[in-house]
């Protein structure tokens, strides 16, 4: 009897499914429209919650029409019971939420960034560079970038899946690595020697790095391989000795002082393991830097500023080491300034836009699509030679 009942139930429910008004229908709201709605809601102040009195209230909120199906006019919500003690989230927090939403990259989109960087080395010298990149957000996270060096030369490279590619315009050749790039990022290091430094209250940390496969990263091996010298303060040296700090390889602008685009930095051990270090802000890339600053570094609104003729809102980290400027209308990144013990870095974004994941835009991630007439060379030795030639500084 149970069998019969189940069969009849299943058929009945199948009949009902057959009259689903949305059967075979795709929701018309685009991802962009949903993103716009998300941003609008995040901009609405939340009441602070407390176990105190409850009362009903009427809330009328205008969710601005952003476009397409997400255009939402006046929305009146009646009789929403909330726990409200009258507190209002500071405007600063709303700006931070806006900025977070504007900097985040939704799945299925391509982030196009054109950025000019300046690094002051703290000794009166500085280096500048330009980096234009297209970053996918799918499973493969493919990326293509064109780096313009201080001397005006450009170098184009891409990450396709687990492999790296570089493009040499002189030979119209794409050199593709045949090994994976997963080991390209040197991780935290605990093996080093500390000795008195060149000036008072300084120490020298000598690292030993061993290049496992040229062009494919570094492995830290004590006592052998390439030496790397890092000057630190007395307090940093003390922290390294008592293990409250550690050496971590962080992304840095390519220069003679970097290894494969990384440099060693002294970071608090706990921060390196569990949370970002906002006092020595040399993390992976500008996208991570921005999100980390907004999420974890006590970012707050300072005021308005004009950057390269653009009206911006100025946000600053709690320790004051990071200043981030966003467009007053779109909250898109305009400039990210970080200062540290050894100078500072300023990244100015002339373009920071999300592109939909169409076939035409996916092609922006690919060197072969951008250079269809180029020869593809998959010889590992040729790739290594090309990388050395095109990226002489590492």
């Amino acid at each position: 009897m149970t069998t019969t009942r189940r069969t009849r139930d299943a058929d009945l429910m199948e009949l009902v499914r057959g009259v689903d008004p949305l059967e075979g229908d795709v929701h018309p709201a685009t991802d962009a429209a949903a993103e716009a709605l998300l941003r609008e809601i995040l901009a609405v102040p939340r009441p602070e919650h407390s176990p105190g009195t409850r009362r009903s209230r009427t809330v009328a909120v205008r969710l601005a029409a952003v476009g397409g199906a997400a255009a939402v006019s006046l929305v009146a919500i009646t009789a929403i019971t909330g726990e409200d003690r009258g507190g209002v989230v500071p405007a600063s927090a709303a700006v931070v939420r806006h900025a977070l939403a504007a900097a985040a990259q939704p799945p299925g989109t391509i982030l196009h960034v054109d950025m000019r960087g300046t690094q002051n080395n703290g000794d009166g010298t500085s280096i500048t560079w330009r980096d234009e990149s297209w970053q996918g957000s799918g499973a493969a996270d493919d990326r293509r970038q064109v780096e313009t060096n201080p001397d005006g030369t450009t170098a184009e490279s891409a990450n396709v899946g687990d492999t790296e590619q570089v493009y040499d315009p002189a030979t119209n050749t794409i050199y593709a690595s045949t090994t994976t790039a997963n080991s390209a990022k040197p991780e935290a290091q605990r093996n080093y020697r500390i000795s008195p430094g060149p000036t008072a209250n300084t120490y020298v940390v000598r690292l030993m790095v061993f290049r496992v496969a040229p062009g494919h990263g570094y492995r830290i091996v004590p006592g052998r391989g390439q030496k790397y010298r890092l000057v630190v303060t007395a307090s940093q040296a003390k922290a390294l000795k008592d293990r409250s700090a550690m050496i971590k390889w962080v992304r840095a602008p390519r220069s003679a002082a970097t290894l494969n685009g990384y440099r060693p930095a002294v970071v608090p051990a706990r921060a390196a393991a569990a949370s970002p270090d906002c006092s020595d802000f040399g993390s992976q890339d500008y996208g991570d830097q921005i999100l980390t600053m907004l999420r974890s570094c006590g970012a707050h609104l300072v005021g308005n500023a004009t950057i390269a003729g653009r009206d911006t809102l100025e946000l600053r980290s709690q320790d004051g080491h990071i200043t981030y400027y966003v467009d007053t209308s779109s909250y898109a990144p305009v400039q990210l300034d970080t200062t540290g013990t050894d100078g500072g870095t300023s990244l100015r974004f002339t373009k920071y836009e999300l592109l939909p994941g169409s076939d035409a835009n996916e092609a922006l991630l690919s060197l072969t699509a951008q250079h269809p007439s180029a020869t593809v060379d998959r010889n590992q030795a040729d790739y290594v030679a090309a990388e050395k030639r095109l990226f002489p500084n590492g």
Partner: protein, 187 residues
Amino acid sequence: MAGPADAHDRDVRAAERFEELFRRHHRAVAAYARRRAQGDTSDDVVASTFLVAWRRLGEVPADSLPWLLAVARNVIATQQRGSRRRGALRQRLERADGSASPSAAEESAGRVAAALGRLPETDREAITLIAWEGLRPGEAATVLGQSPAAFRVRLHRAKRRLRRELDRAGQADPHPQHPSVVKEIAP
């Protein structure tokens, strides 16, 4: 005592949690609203639903979709009370029976839709939450504000009423030639 930094961190964590909630369930809530809301008001229902979730984030349970759909259901009910209109879904379902010169399949579907439209709203909601939204009975119970046991009883009765309506329309079963569907199997 919590300082400004704590409040800030709490605020940012809330934003992250809400963003995850929104991305995970936006399509399901939008589909629910489109099936039931009047005309082009489904976008308003979705916006209102997530706005409530944002303001009451601390009350949103871990199994959040039923909670969101319950809010959406209340928002739609408020809309319909305000406009003194019957439910869009019911209107749509009732209209399905009156199409001109339908094919056999359309006629069959039209009768199912019409039978569904004649059910009391709570019965129809019990069935469609399972069939259209793909919820489990326990989740559908949350949407309707009922205990799982009470919901099972309601669902059972709702199906019985729907069968009765279909019987009246000569559509009691999609495969009347199949004996296992028509007759009870003796234990």
